[in-house]
Symmetry: C2
Subunit: 447 residues, 2 copies
């Protein structure tokens, strides 16, 4: 069975919906409503007639029409029988939010086995249990929390609800948005590998962010991941790199963190980009969806801030990018166009008296040089109008990575304008370089 029912159901039942704000059964129902789901939505709760203006049903069996997806928030001990009822109702996909399963000890482990058994018998696929749900912005289904509605190209598969939520919130804040989000929880049935396969073939998803603590089947994961990275970039953050981290993994999701060296080798082999923190995961996904892949490792750094240009240089060099010599033809053009205080090297230092016009000249001179794979554009204390200049050159297809820092109100405005035009911006030279290095590595491997 396809996983499509989880993302594009015609109707959704929220089993364990609650009248009480703050309860998950209330928040999830409200988030689905507020996300703008267009299909039928059925709260199920034997003790309520109506929740959030929707007629409430005492059990899933009483719902009058066909239901595509069940979101289950009832206490763990009721879940197996609810699953059986869902099966009888013809439902083929259930998201089990409820905790109290394998993560909580032997009794929960037994309940999880019973749940899975009921699901197999009923031919229902399960995401969870003990999970933070699923969001598909395109369908207006935020069966998760917090509410994130901004539609965009980043999809997220995560063994941590908070980590997926953090990526989604940051992407919403910057207007980039997300596509599909799945918080896996205990992954008793649907796992990271199956979702990776699904999202690799999902045309709306342009990049996949993955937080995992282990994989269910290493061999299958490798095969699927290799095929996935041929389709689109996959960026992974793996918890449990250290011995104590691995112990914590065992407590959290009962995953075996495994040898980190092996994971590292596998990720390299299948061209998955690896990061070590949540912000790196976000930064690089943002880069993949916002920036064209650089054609080569050669970088030119344009800067109004000498110091920031140097930090970018250090970071690029350490990350295996090449801070190339400024091409002679670029020097020739620019020495007549830029004031004499500018330093015609790489970094190309426009100095503190840089203007938008000077950035424009520099970008113009670099535009036609195919040997220049990418340009990091550092704007210290951004000036009015710089966003238009960057957006203009951005539209011409070279990989331009804007960095803005050290400014006040004007920086905030120019940054917002750039983001509004779909151009990602970074707040430090190092984060920009790290992103660019990931793009260059992915691009080189896929060429």
């Amino acid at each position: 069975m396809t996983l499509r029912n989880f993302f594009e159901p015609s109707s959704v039942a929220v089993i364990g919906a609650s009248r009480e704000p703050g309860k998950l059964g209330h928040e999830i129902l409200r988030n689905i409503i507020e996300a703008g789901f267009k299909g039928k939505l059925y709260p199920v709760n034997p003790k309520a007639d109506e929740i959030l203006g929707l007629k409430c049903y005492p059990s899933i069996k009483m719902v009058p029409t066909k239901v595509g997806l069940a979101v289950i928030i009832v206490p763990a001990r009721f879940v197996p029988s609810v699953i059986t009822d869902c099966g009888a109702k013809g439902i083929r996909a259930a998201i089990v939010i409820s905790g109290g399963f394998r993560e909580s000890g032997p009794a929960g482990e037994k309940l999880e086995r019973q749940t899975l058994k009921a699901a197999k018998q009923a031919k229902i696929r399960i995401i969870g249990p003990n999970c933070q749900g699923v969001n598909n912005t395109a369908a207006g289904i935020c069966a998760s929390w917090p509410l994130v509605k901004v539609r965009g190209p980043i999809s997220i598969i995560s063994q941590s609800g908070t980590i997926s939520a953090a990526i989604a919130c940051w992407a919403a804040d910057e207007g980039i948005g997300i596509c599909k989000l799945v918080a896996l929880g205990n992954k008793c049935d649907v796992d990271e590998t199956e979702l990776l396969d699904y999202l690799a073939n999902d045309s709306e998803t342009k990049v996949i962010a993955l937080y995992i603590e282990g994989v269910s089947d290493g061999r299958k994961f490798m095969k699927v991941a290799r095929a996935a990275t041929d389709e689109k970039p996959v960026v992974v953050l793996k918890g449990g790199r250290t011995a104590k981290g691995a112990e914590a993994v065992l407590s959290h999701t009962r995953s075996l963190a495994g040898s980190d060296a092996i994971f590292d080798a596998v990720f390299k082999l299948v061209n998955i980009i690896r990061v070590n923190d949540v912000e790196g995961l976000y930064d690089i996904c943002k880069g993949f969806v916002g920036l064209p892949l650089p054609k080569n490792k050669n970088v030119v750094i344009i800067t109004s801030s000498g110091g920031s240009g140097i930090l970018a240089t250090d970071a690029c060099e350490e990350l295996n990018l090449n801070v190339m010599d400024l091409p002679a033809e670029v020097c020739d053009v620019l020495k007549d166009k830029l004031p004499p205080e500018c330093i015609l090297r790489n970094p190309l230092d426009l100095t503190g008296s840089a203007t938008s016009q000077m950035y424009d000249e520099a970008l113009e001179a670099l535009a036609g040089i195919s040997d220049v794979g990418s340009v990091i554009i550092v704007v210290g204390d951004p000036m009015l109008g710089i966003s238009e200049v960057i957006a203009k050159h951005f539209a011409r297809g070279k990989t331009l990575v804007p960095v803005m820092l050290g400014g006040g109100q004007v920086e905030a405005e120019e940054r917002a304008k750039l983001q509004g035009s779909g151009t990602p911006t970074y707040s430090s030279p190092v984060r920009a370089a790290r992103t660019l290095a990931a793009l260059a590595r992915y691009g080189a491997a896929e060429r």
Copy 2:
């Protein structure tokens, strides 16, 4: 002569003040006015009668009263004679913003020598030239840009104007504020070492952020730095770690970046904390001013997000902190106070159903255990009221490092409340761990 004239002058002349918004001579004058400087302020410009409502003087010699500090923004070729005039006027401190000196080639180098010679003859100390100025929030003197007025405990010495501005802006945004900021520029006279010495003895400065590309006198720097770190923490970001970065340093400020391995050894020897990016510089300064030093390397991680707790564990372990076993007495207390789904290990996982009350219980149980040097408090999708709980325990003096992520509006509100109460917050487990590791290392070395 003391450097005090740069920070606490009774009166300031802005030589090269401009009527034209956008020009530095205008912006700096306006920033000094808007920062609330209480002393006399004299714009000097032969072509204007009045600028920004202040009477303008044709030359510094015509200013009627004594002047404590000159801020000079005239073209480079006029600077030596302006310095001589300042000397005749009895001024003892001048900030030279103007560029066009050593950084611009042989002619500029000559001008810089002439400027320095004039200064020596006139007994004037110079910050700059080619610099982004000085800010002292306590005195309301923002002789720099952008305007930053929020007064706080972080002082900054930087060979990059943008990097110091970035730290200042972030500190202002989070309500932490800055104390004294100096953008060194070409440091023809006053250098990082002399300022380090001055700020080490400045009672308002609680931590010193340093961006350098080289040092003028290594031996003197070591001596001063060692004394400074006995007084307060010093955090350094050094540009030019790589060969190409070092080349760029030479172009930027004509500093010799020197052997990075030697710098690294020196920083360790004198207990300077080293970071490799601007955000790290800010994060760690924020930690030093907001958090008490941990008494030892033992960390407990409390989390509502299993995944984030694991990331914190990995980062702590890699950074030489000890993710200790959860003390038995803490387990004993908490097993009766927390719901059974909580995982009584370290990380102490309160799970997704964590409440403020549960954090309160956990922090209470840890409060009296002196073996626990610090607590990282990860709050995934923060709940209303968590800031009060953290603030309450924070006031009791243990090193608590709050991390908030994966939440929407409530997170923003709770974060703002915590920051308002003077408690720093971090947005990722890794940034929090990095900060804590720096504090622990500094604390251990100074014990």
